[in-house]
Symmetry: C2
């Protein structure tokens, strides 16, 4: 079987998109992606829409059918993919399956979310409904889980609080090079360390913002890709895995089971290991998650990711640049878009389209986390040879 | 590549499930399906949940992650599949892709919806948000589209109003043989013809009810299936296609483009034609849709399905039994469950497990319609040889 290739990518401006709605954002990204690849809408056979909650946020259901109409891809089959915050990564997995199974020779994936028109309370209420109801009733929201996990990590591995600030500072610096990022301003460690407390020890700058935005990727068999371009990427490995959503049942709060499982499956499928990865996008919804994923994916030994971060090894000029896009922290986190936007960044790094953020990369990895590690999808992409 | 097999199926009681919630229903069906196949939860590699609107109906998101925990299938990958009323058919397509692509050797699909705790107005508001906003503002809800289409069909093809009542009467009669059906009572043509007017010429008995329920199917490669059982079915063909959601743009209101397109693709993939099909489940959300699908799938010539219905050819002892389960009309229509329950019925017919509804069948077809024909998935299943 021919490998599955990615031949086009796009993302909209992330941030507050006032007066625009989910369909505007999805259509903008979808159209731009087809343009990027030079593929006409008639050639699209499957259209997947990664979106967690257009019904809850906007009272609009069936967005995939409306988008299929707006993009003129009819009669392409379409479906919405929901895996909470990792809906985008699930979309990559679904798109890969649609091509690898032979069901489609041209699959467009568009991920997006429109959130900023709702109050922070309303938005977080929707998001919080993914957690276990008993834990939630006891105050264990996603930020409080993150706070408890961070405290445990810092104490257990004797890591300084500043190490988390370094994640925020790096991702903000990367964001200044990304014209699509929600925040394009540098911060320093002091600013992060003195920002308002949210869930001890985590402060405002340890959290990603609420964001509107959309991103898209176009998939086809590698032999079809070659008809369009020499500059494409292939999906070397992709896998998803679920951990219990009942966080108090987890054996070790600093181990994300879904990351470990999906990562090792994706490595095995690709034939590559962590040492082969040149650039990675990790799901830094909270700064502490960047460390946990670095360790779960074997980029760092257990308890040592913080040292890599403080040594600058994950910076743009480090041994393994992480979140060159600015990450969720600085680029923003429109739920359904985020995993697709991770794929956008890796694709651009592999085809040499990352502009001021360009690093030298042949193999890239994206790790998209749903819920508080409830489900994780890891994707390994490779530049066309 | 090995064909994709179905080795187990289940469905819960459909109807008003007071005091139970979406997760209760999904877990009941999922567990029963694994039991039916004799497969342990540890063997499940992918879990798909077909559900349109647990967030809108119940304020609960992330049901697939909670279900993965409740069914003890961790670390199986899980994802929610939404294609409005055809979420179940989309789930079959997703499950097929997951096995056919080699991503999973054991995929559990569970579809469900919990709706009856909301008022009819609330429930239909959620469902109506799939329609085009401009058409909706002008009063073109799903029932009014169905009424207009029915009037057009009856006039154009000189069909008597009674022909639609025959669909309701047949499906109610079939429902009396289905212990899981919401309605298990016979009605006569007169009752249907004199029931309250909803959207002229359609009356109450032309519409499916609002329903709670869940259904499940278990998929694996055929060579794996043989390790468990000799009695299984295979997916001979499956395809999905989208028609414009803007109904006034459609060339002919009596032609469902998504049915025609997905049907012909599924026939082509299977190598079978309409004449080979022994039993079919069609999406009779409104009685008129049964005629349109019969014609779109070439079971009847254009404008002649009503004659087949009045001649009794689609009854249990007819040349092509349609909706032996009772259909959406009598069995009920819990959105995300319906397409999976169609698969359940076809599977039971093929493995000889349909009890009082059993017909002689080697090949069966299910047609699941999302929105007002916005997206359609057609599945052709075949008994193991």
């Amino acid at each position: 079987m021919s490998d599955v290739a990615v031949i086009g990518a796009s993302m909209t401006q992330f941030g507050r998109r006032e007066g625009e709605w989910i369909l505007d954002l999805l259509a903008e990204a979808g159209e731009a992606c087809l343009d990027d690849a030079g593929v006409g809408p008639d050639d699209v056979e499957h259209l997947y829409v990664s979106n967690m909650a257009s019904g809850e946020f906007e009272g609009q259901t069936g967005v995939m059918n409306a988008l299929a109409h707006d993009l003129s891809v009819l009669p392409a089959y379409t479906q919405r993919v929901d895996q909470t915050s990792s809906s985008g990564g699930s979309g990559i997995y679904a798109a890969w399956q649609s091509v690898a199974s032979g069901a489609s020779d041209m699959t467009l994936l568009v991920g997006g979310e429109k959130m900023t028109h709702r109050s922070t309370e309303e938005a977080t209420d929707v998001i919080a409904s993914i957690t276990h109801p008993v834990e939630y009733k006891h105050g264990l929201t996603l930020p409080s889980f993150a706070g408890l996990t961070a405290r445990h990590y810092l104490e257990r591995f004797d890591a300084p609080r500043e190490s988390l600030a370094h994640v925020a500072v790096k991702n903000h610096e990367n964001g200044t090079r990304n014209p699509h990022a929600q925040f394009q301003k540098e911060i320093d460690v002091e600013t992060a360390m003195e920002s308002p407390m949210v869930a001890d020890p985590l402060r405002l700058y340890d959290f990603c913002p609420i964001t509107d935005g959309s991103a898209a990727l176009l998939f086809c068999p590698e032999d079809v890709a070659r008809e369009y371009t020499d500059e494409y990427a292939t999906i070397a490995g992709v896998a998803g895995a679920t951990d219990t959503l009942v966080v108090h049942e987890r054996a070790d709060p600093t181990t994300m089971g879904g990351v470990v499982e999906s990562g090792s499956e994706a490595y095995e499928m690709s034939g590559y290991g962590p040492e082969d990865v040149d650039v990675a996008e990790l799901h830094d919804m909270f700064t502490i998650l960047e460390f946990l994923q670095m360790e779960g994916l074997d980029f760092a030994e257990k308890g040592e990711a913080w040292e890599m971060a403080m040594d600058g090894e994950t910076a743009m000029d480090g041994s393994l640049p992480i979140n060159t896009s600015g990450g969720l922290k600085s680029k923003g986190h429109p739920l359904g878009a985020s995993g697709v936007a991770q794929g956008y960044e890796i694709y651009q790094q592999l085809v040499g389209g990352a502009g001021d953020r360009q690093v030298d990369a042949e193999i890239g990895l994206a790790c998209n986390v749903g819920g508080f590690g409830n489900c994780v999808i890891t994707t390994i992409m490779e530049a066309a040879r």
